[in-house]
Symmetry: C2
Subunit: 340 residues, 2 copies
DNA sequence: AAACTTTGCTAAATCGGTTTAGTTAGCTAC
DNA sequence: GTAGCTAACTAAACCGATTTAGCAAAGTTT
C-alpha cells in the first residue's frame, strides 16, 4: 500500500538537525563527535518512537561491509551439511552476521557461478566446501584479501584457512578394526571424485589393506546430483563381488543406499557382511543391527569454522597467517562391525 | 592486496563515453535508447574482456530489488526443512534469486528479529514457517505490499499465500488405519505448540478416536530447541501408560526419539506397540520393522512455494489475490502398523 | 581585546550504480 | 534559411546511508 519506510533524512528534517548529526548519534559516535548529550538523547528517543531502522543496503554500499557470510556446501539436504549449516548460522547470528547459502551440487560451473554471485554481492566472508576446478576462483578471492575458510576438503596448493577431519587416519583405523574383527575381503565403495577428503579416505583404506597384505576391492560410482540413489549400483557390485565379507562406505548417502541394497539382497549384517560408514546418522545408530560409523565432530568443526572466520574478518591485514585445522573423527563401534 | 574491482566509471572512462551509455547497454536498453549497434558491441566486448560485473549492492539500492528471498524455517537441520530448502534454492537459483536463510528455532523473539533484519536488507520476498506471535510482524510485511508465502503452518486470520498439507485428514486416516488393524489404545505424542499444523494433527487424532469411541492418550512434550532429544520423556510416558498398544508421533524428531525409547524398553513393533510417525525419513523406510509414516510431498510443496512467490513478485499490484494451497500427504503403510 | 581553543554542529563528497531530462549534430521540410 | 525531427549520446539527480572537512559561537589565554 504505502511505502512509508523512514529514511535518515526524515529524522533529520523532523528534528530540524542535519543528517550528519543523526548518523553520528546512531553509530555511537556522539561523544567522539561532540554531540551534546541532550540532543543525543532526543534523537535516540525519536528514532525509537518512530521505529526507524537504517537501510542496510545503503550502509553496505558506503562501508563495504554487508555482514553477510556466504556458505557454499555440496548439498544442504545432506544431514552432515545441514547440521553444520545450522550450527554455523547459530554462531554467526549471535555476532550479527547472516548466512546466504547455496548448494554447489559438486558442479564446477555452478560453484564458480556461486562464488561470482557472492562476490558481486560483496559478502564479507566465504565458507566453502570447494568443488574440483574452483581453485582459481578461490585464489582470486584471497588475492582481494577476502576472508575464506574451506571445510570438509581443501586445495593442498592453496594457502587458505581450512577445517577438515583426519580422513585418512580415521578410515585407516576403521579398516584395521574390521581386520581385527576377522574380516578379510573388505570393499571400499566411494564416488568418483578428486576431492581431498575422498582421496584421503581411499588412502587410509589402501594403507590398511597393504599393511595387512589383503586384496583391494575398490568401486567408484559416478556422482549423482539428485536423489543420491545408489541402491541399484551397490546391489550390482555385491552381486558381482560375492566373496566380499565387509564393506566401507565412504559417505553417508552411500551408507544409506548400501544398507538398503544389503537388505534387498537378504545379506545379514555382520554375519554375511561387516559394515562401516563414513559420517554418522540417526539411521546408523538406530538400525538393526546398529551400524559402526566414523562420526565427524560437527559441533567442533562448526565452531572452529566460525571462529577462524570471524577472527580473520577482524584482522584484515594483508598476508595474515592462515590456519589449517585437522580434527579427529572418532570411530563409533557398533554391532555391524563386530564378528564375535 | 589490491582491490582492483572495476566500476562502471572505469569502463566509461576507458572507452571515452558516458556512464549512462554503458549502463543502458549493460541493461539491454541499447536499442530502446538508440545506442548504435557499433558502440553497443564495442562496450560489450570490452566489458567481457576485463570481466566487469556490476556491484549488486549499488543496483539494489537504486532499483529497490535485491533478488534475495528470505527463508525462515524452524530448523534447517531437520531433514524435512533441509530438503525443502534445497528444492526451493534450486528453483530460485534458476530464476536468478538467491536464498538467505535462518532458523527461527520456534522462538518468537528470534523470528521477529529475523523478519526485521530481512526487511532491513530489503529482500524481495519471504518464505516463512511462522512462529506463534509473529502474526503482526507478517501483517506489516503484507501492508507494505511485499511478497510472502507461509508454509507448513499459517495464521487463519491472516490473508496470506500459504502452502500446507492436510494435516487433520492425513492424521485421521493414519489413526483409522491403526484402528482397522486392531489397535485400541492409541497414543498421540506431540510437542507443546499452538501452531496450526500441530493443532490440526491433534484434531485428526481426536476425530478418529471419538468416532470410534476409544480412549484418548495425548501427551504434549515441551519443545526443545537443541538436540531434539525426547528419548527420556517418551520412555517415561511408556512406563506410565503401560496399556497403550499403538503410538502416533506428530513429528519426525519425536518419531526418531520414540523408536529409540521403544528399543530401550525392549518393546516389539508392531506386536507390543504399533507405530506411525508424521514426516517420512530414511530411517523409517529402513528401520526393522519399517515404520509407517505420513509423507509430506516435499517436491510438490517446494514447487508450489516458489511458483506462488515468483508469480507474486511479478504481479506487484496492491490487493492481489492470495493463494492457499493444501496438499495431500499420503500414508506410507509399512510393517510397524500391520497386525496381521 | 586580539588570538587561540573548544564545543556543537553541518555541507558536501562519496559508495556505484539507474534513470530522467536533456543536448548536439545532421537531416528533412517548406 | 530556419523550423522541426531524429539519431546518438550525456549531465546530473537519485537511491540512503557514512565520512571528511570545516564553520560559527562561546570560552580561554595572554
Amino acid at each position: 500500500m504505502k511505502k512509508n519506510k523512514l529514511v535518515i533524512a526524515d529524522i533529520a528534517r523532523h528534528l530540524k538537525i542535519s543528517i550528519t548529526t543523526v548518523s553520528f548519534i546512531l553509530n555511537g559516535k556522539a561523544r567522539e563527535k561532540r554531540i551534546s548529550d541532550e540532543l543525543t538523547e532526543k534523537v535516540l528517543k525519536y528514532v525509537k518512537e518512530v521505529n526507524y531502522t537504517p537501510n542496510h543496503l545503503a550502509q553496505s554500499l558506503r562501508t563495504g561491509k554487508t555482514d553477510l557470510i556466504g556458505l557454499i556446501v555440496e548439498n544442504i539436504s545432506n544431514p552432515f551439511f545441514a547440521n553444520v549449516a545450522r550450527l554455523i548460522e547459530e554462531n554467526a547470528y549471535k555476532r550479527g552476521f547472516r548466512i546466504i547459502y547455496c548448494s554447489s551440487e559438486n558442479d564446477t560451473e555452478k560453484a564458480k557461478e556461486l562464488i561470482r554471485v557472492f562476490h558481486e554481492r560483496q559478502i564479507d566472508a566465504y565458507i566453502i566446501t570447494p568443488t574440483t576446478g574452483t581453485e582459481n576462483d578461490i585464489r582470486n578471492l584471497l588475492r582481494e584479501n577476502l576472508s575464506v575458510v574451506l571445510f570438509d576438503r581443501y586445495f593442498p596448493d592453496l594457502q587458505t584457512n581450512s577445517v577438515v577431519v583426519d580422513n585418512a587416519q580415521s578410515t585407516y583405523n576403521a579398516i584395521c578394526h574390521l581386520i581385527e574383527q576377522g574380516f578379510q575381503r573388505i570393499a571400499f565403495l566411494t564416488v568418483e571424485s578428486d576431492q581431498t577428503q575422498m582421496n584421503q579416505r581411499l588412502d587410509g583404506y589402501n594403507r590398511a589393506i597393504k599393511e595387512n597384505h589383503l586384496k583391494k576391492y575398490i568401486k567408484k560410482f559416478p556422482f549423482q546430483k539428485k536423489g543420491h540413489d545408489y541402491i541399484e549400483s551397490i546391489t550390482q557390485f555385491f552381486k558381482k563381488e560375492k566373496t566380499v565379507d565387509a564393506v566401507f562406505f565412504a559417505t553417508n548417502y552411500l551408507g544409506i543406499s548400501g544398507l538398503e541394497a544389503i537388505k534387498n539382497l537378504n545379506k545379514k549384517i555382520p554375519a554375511d557382511i561387516g559394515v562401516i560408514s563414513f559420517d554418522d546418522h540417526d539411521l546408523f545408530r538406530l538400525y538393526s543391527p546398529s551400524i559402526t560409523a566414523i562420526a565427524q565432530p560437527i559441533e567442533q568443526l562448526s565452531e572452529q569454522l566460525i571462529n577462524i572466520l570471524l577472527e580473520d574478518i577482524d584482522s584484515k591485514k594483508p598476508n595474515r597467517k592462515t590456519k589449517k585445522i585437522v580434527l579427529t573423527a572418532p570411530l563409533i563401534v557398533r554391532e555391524s562391525s563386530l564378528r564375535r
